[in-house]
Symmetry: C2
Subunit: 198 residues, 2 copies
DNA sequence: AGCGCTCTAGAGCGATCGCTCCAGAGGGTG
DNA sequence: CACCCTCTGGAGCGATCGCTCTAGAGCGCT
C-alpha cells in the first residue's frame, strides 16, 4: 500500500474527477483513502485548498506524461491526436463516464472564486499547451502557429470530456479527435510543401 | 422590475456562471434576486434541483438564440465562427473573466452525481450541436459531417471558456475561433468544388 | 531505557447548507 | 364586505461542512 500522503492525493484526484472541488467533502476523501482525519491535516496543513493545489499539480503532471507517452508511441502527429482522443473516449466508456480530467471541473469551479487554485489550473493548462506545441514545432510548424493548434487541442479535449460525459456517449470525443487529426495533418502537409519548394 | 420567478432564474444563472452548482447557496440566490426565501420554494417546489433544471433549460435556449443571431448577421459561416468566438472572448474580458457559460461548469459537476441535471445539460448541448449542424448542412456540408463539425465547435467553445478563464486571457478563445474558421472554410471550399465538378 | 519527532486516530466545534413551516399581504371574485 | 388563492416574508430545523484539538502509537537515536 502506498503512503498515506499519496493515498490521500490519489483519492482526492479520483473524487475531483467525479464531483469536482465543491462537491467533494474531506470526510469522503479520508474514507476513500482509508486515512484518519488527522493525517490529512498533518500532510496538508493548509486544508482543502492546499490539498487541491497539490492534486492539480500532480495530476497535471501525470496527464502530461500520458500525452508524451502516446505521442512517442504514435507513428506520426496525426495519429497521435486520434490515439489520444480515442483513448480518452475508451476510458470514459469503461468507467461509466466517471473518470475524466481532474483539472477541468475544478478549473471552472474556482476560476472566479479562488485565485490560488485558478493559477494552479492555469499553469497546468499552459504546460500542456507548451508540450503539445513543442511537438508540433519539432515537425516544422511555425512556433506561433504551433501554440494556436496546441491550444485548440487542449480546449477540444476538455470540451470533449464535457460533451461526452453529459451525453454518456464517446462520440463527441471521437468526432473532435477525427477532425483535429485532419487539421493537424493538413498543417503538416503545408509545412512539407513549403519546405520542399523553398 | 421583472417578476420574482424571473429574477430568481436570472440570478441563479449568473451565480452558476461564476461558481457553479455546488458553489452556489440558495440564500445567495435570494439575496441577489432580492426575493424572500419562501418565494423560491413557491416557484420551485423541487428546491435547488428543480431550480437548476429550469436555469439550464432557459439559459440553454438563450444561448441558442444568441448563436442564431450572430450567424444571421454574419456574411458567411466562416466569419460567423470568429464572430462568435471573438464575442465570447470580449465578454470574458469585459466582465473580468466571470461571465461564462452557465451550462459548462454545472454540466461537469453533475455529470456523475445527478442524472436529472446531467440529462438537462445533455439536451442543451445536443440542441446547440443540432442548430449549428443544420446551418452547416444548409451550406452543402454532408449531414454526418455537419454534426461532427458542430460537435467540435461546441466542445471548443466550452474548452475555450475553461482555458481563457483559467489564464485570464482572451487568447485561447480567440485562437480556437481562428483555427476553426479555417476548418469550416476549407470544408465549404471542398463542398463547392465537389458541387461544381459534378 | 529514555527521549523526541513524525504520523495516526477521531471526537467535536462553529458555521453554513438545503429545506420546512407558518403567518400574513395583496388582489380578484361572489 | 367576506372569501379564497397566490405569493411574500423570514425564523429556524437537522444535517453536513471545513477544520481544530488532544491523545497516543511507532520508530530512530543516544
Amino acid at each position: 500500500m502506498l503512503g498515506t500522503r499519496e493515498r490521500i492525493l490519489t483519492s482526492t484526484g479520483e473524487l475531483f474527477r467525479r464531483q469536482g472541488y465543491n462537491g467533494t467533502a474531506l470526510k469522503q476523501v479520508t474514507a476513500l483513502a482509508d486515512a484518519p482525519f488527522g493525517s490529512l491535516y498533518h500532510h496538508f496543513p493548509g486544508g482543502k485548498e492546499e490539498l487541491a493545489e497539490a492534486v492539480i499539480k500532480s495530476s497535471g503532471q501525470a496527464y502530461q506524461t500520458l500525452f508524451e507517452l502516446i505521442e512517442d508511441a504514435a507513428v506520426d502527429p496525426g495519429s497521435a491526436v486520434t490515439d489520444f482522443f480515442d483513448g480518452a473516449a475508451a476510458v470514459l466508456e469503461q468507467t461509466g463516464y466517471v473518470d475524466a480530467c481532474p483539472i477541468g471541473t475544478v478549473a471552472l469551479e474556482v476560476a472566479s472564486t479562488n485565485d490560488r487554485l485558478r493559477q494552479a489550473t492555469a499553469e497546468v493548462f499552459a504546460s500542456w499547451v507548451d508540450t503539445a506545441a513543442r511537438r508540433l514545432a519539432s515537425h516544422g510548424v511555425a512556433p506561433a502557429r504551433s501554440i494556436e493548434l496546441a491550444t485548440l487541442l487542449v480546449a477540444a479535449v476538455e470540451g470533449g470530456f464535457m460533451l461526452s460525459r453529459a451525453a454518456r456517449s464517446p462520440e463527441p470525443m471521437r468526432a473532435s479527435g477525427r477532425l483535429l487529426r485532419e487539421l493537424v495533418e493538413s498543417e503538416l502537409a503545408t509545412v512539407r510543401t513549403v519546405t520542399t519548394t523553398t
